[in-house]
């Protein structure tokens, strides 16, 4: 009805010249994207939710049998999976703490008048833009016990970074710290440059010491932006797959993403891996929710 109305309108009439209404433009611009994301992100998740209640194996032609909550029950009672979560937690703590210290420290150093500051900052940011998988691979050479430059530079002899089960997780975290400290640095610099100068002047007049100034002025004012960096990096570290998968194959570095990958694409326990994927998904969504709430809060300031 409406469409015939429009087509019958005289082309030169005012209504026709105005083109589509704002509401139809809004729908035209927004709905395709939402539909696309539903089809390619949400529909697959519904699909795998279904499989998570079955014993389906994608490597065979055997039909999937409904097993109810069996997969979830098995996974939550599996000490192996729990140890994967524990490894992941340890990895997240080490690498995020390391990034926070290094990134914020470097930002504090950079936050002054330095010749070529812009160039130095860009150079420092380079690692985070590079491919984790490809650069991670090259760290294998850097970590090599007999001819790696790390052992040479630190005078560590033939120290085993990656083949020592106890050390491997730290080595992966160290590479991650190298890659992602720049991210914390970038956000910290933004936070530091937003601290009003007059606060420091006032502190100087009051003869406040550097520690007092740091803990009472700098840190509280930069904290919200640091928090964003920490939540974001936590989420990303929790999902880490590439780096650990490429650098080592130690059981001590089997993060939850690697366990999930092996379960799904090497052991072909498709049904069970879908269930594990859901457990991971819920955890990530919880962190994302916190992250977005925080982002909006900081944006409002």
């Amino acid at each position: 009805m409406a469409t015939t109305m429009i087509t019958t309108l005289d082309r030169s009439s005012r209504a026709a010249a105005r083109g589509l209404s704002d509401i139809s433009i809004r729908n035209l611009f927004i709905i395709p994207t939402v539909l696309f994301l539903i089809v390619f992100n949400i529909f697959p998740l519904i699909y795998s939710l279904g499989y998570s209640f079955t014993d389906f194996r994608a490597s065979t032609n055997a039909p999937a049998n409904f097993v109810g909550l069996q997969n979830y029950r098995d996974l939550l009672n599996d000490p192996y999976v729990w140890s994967n979560f524990a490894i992941t937690a340890k990895y997240v703590i080490i690498s995020v703490a390391g990034q926070l210290l290094v990134g914020f420290g470097v930002a504090m150093l950079l936050n002054r008048d330095i010749p070529l500051k812009g160039l130095l900052t860009t150079l420092l940011l380079l690692p985070m833009m590079l491919s984790m998988a490809v650069v991670g691979l090259f760290w294998k050479l850097l970590y090599d016990p007999s001819f790696g430059i790390i052992n040479y530079a630190l005078g560590l002899g033939t120290f085993e970074w990656l083949s020592d089960p106890k050390m491997a997780l730290y080595a992966v975290a160290l590479t991650d710290i190298w890659m992602w400290s720049p991210f914390v640095m970038l956000l910290s610099l933004a936070g530091l440059s937003a601290v009003p100068k007059h606060l420091y002047e006032a502190a100087a007049i009051d003869r406040a010491g550097p520690f007092y100034t740091f803990f009472r002025i700098t840190l509280p004012l930069v904290a919200p932006i640091l928090m964003i960096a920490v939540i974001f990096r936590t989420m990303e570290a929790f999902k880490t797959f590439d780096l650990a998968y490429i650098l080592t194959s130690q059981p001590t570095t089997e993060l939850i993403s690697i366990r999930l990958y092996k379960m799904a694409f090497q052991e072909w326990q498709t049904g069970r891996s879908c269930a594990l994927a859901y457990i991971v998904l819920i955890m990530v969504l919880a962190i994302t929710n916190i992250y977005v709430k925080y982002l909006n809060k900081v944006k409002e300031r």
Binding site: P44, F147, C274
Partner: protein, 319 residues
């Protein structure tokens, strides 16, 4: 600034500058090592002490692009003299380039993977930024019911761990024959980048004053015309920055590519590590492949330097 700076403050400043230079050198050392290894002769790649000064060679790149085999006996002087320079550098390394029956040089797997990376990253970037720009405009200019929830939904699709999404996508692609296809990976990367592009572009759109379009509407433009003729040119910088970010993300992506492709549509990130098999890998060739792969991203990082903060924080923090 406080009027007088004490001498200890100035001293600390000097220390900080030295410290920052040292930190920068440490951070760049791995990247420098990749670049320098890419131009080393093989026997200097893994020496102790590490070789820093050497005569740069192009042979790692020749080896990167060609299929080679071990020389059983050294080439005859005539053979060597007849060979072009790029074949000689391979002879010098104790290998020869494999040729087919017609004498055609056989390529290695690298060029086709590099090309796949280019095709997939560029196409998915165009799609994600194209759709994202429209959607961001929609969210920026019109009232949308449940806007916050919709934007959260859009962002959350980006936050999902790749392996979680890959399991059902693998099964669905297998059912419709999209596994190991360019289109399959393009769709995945478009979906992955779309949410990012909506969030980032919305920030750029919000910064364009509404008055520009309103003036155009008064002048008799339709909303569509105003969008294409007024808003898009204003948003050009934002679109370019968003596109570069999307390109880098797709270019670097590993997990989806590892799971969804194995030959035909394989991109460089899963291919390069697969070249390190058992035995002693030729690190100069790996470094050459890595170097070429990282080069575009390094250049883009410099072009993007003023937008990095915004891009990495999903448009939430601006300078």
């Amino acid at each position: 600034m406080a009027a007088v700076r004490t001498s200890s403050e100035i001293g600390f400043n000097r220390v900080a500058i030295v410290a920052i230079l040292v930190v920068t050198l440490i951070f760049l050392a791995p990247i420098y090592w990749i670049a320098s290894t890419a131009f080393k002769p093989r026997n200097l790649a893994t020496t102790i002490p590490p070789t820093v000064v050497f005569q740069p060679e192009i042979s790692p790149f020749v080896k990167l692009f060609t299929k080679r085999s071990q020389l059983r006996s050294p080439p005859t002087p005539e053979e060597y003299a007849a060979a072009p320079w790029w074949e000689r550098v391979v002879f010098d390394g104790g290998e020869k380039i494999v040729r087919d029956g017609k004498g055609q040089v056989q390529w290695s797997g690298y060029p086709s993977r590099f090309l796949n990376s280019l095709i997939i990253a560029i196409t998915s970037t165009v799609l994600a930024v194209g759709m994202g720009t429209f959607t961001a405009y929609g969210f920026s200019r019109f009232k949308v019911k449940g806007e916050a929830d919709l934007l959260f939904f859009i962002l959350s699709t980006r936050m999902l761990p790749p392996v979680v999404v890959a399991i059902p996508m693998f099964l669905m692609y297998r059912a419709v024959g999209l596994n190991d296809s360019h289109i399959g990976l393009i769709i995945l990367y478009t979906a992955f980048n779309l949410s990012f592009s909506v969030w980032l572009m919305k920030g750029f759109m919000d910064e364009i004053p509404k008055e520009y379009e309103e003036a155009a509407l008064v002048d008799g433009y339709t909303r569509m015309e105003a969008f294409f003729k007024i808003v898009l040119p204003e948003a050009a910088t934002g679109i370019a920055a968003t596109a570069v970010f999307c390109f880098i993300t797709a270019w670097n992506e590993y997990a989806f590519a590892l799971i969804m492709t194995n030959r035909r549509a394989q991109t460089a990130p899963p291919f390069i590590p697969s070249q390190v098999g058992s035995g002693l890998p030729d690190w100069t060739v790996i470094a050459a492949g890595t170097f070429l792969f990282l080069l575009p991203v390094a250049i883009f990082t410099f072009l993007l330097r003023n937008h990095l903060l915004r891009g990495m924080s999903f448009g939430a923090i601006r300078k």
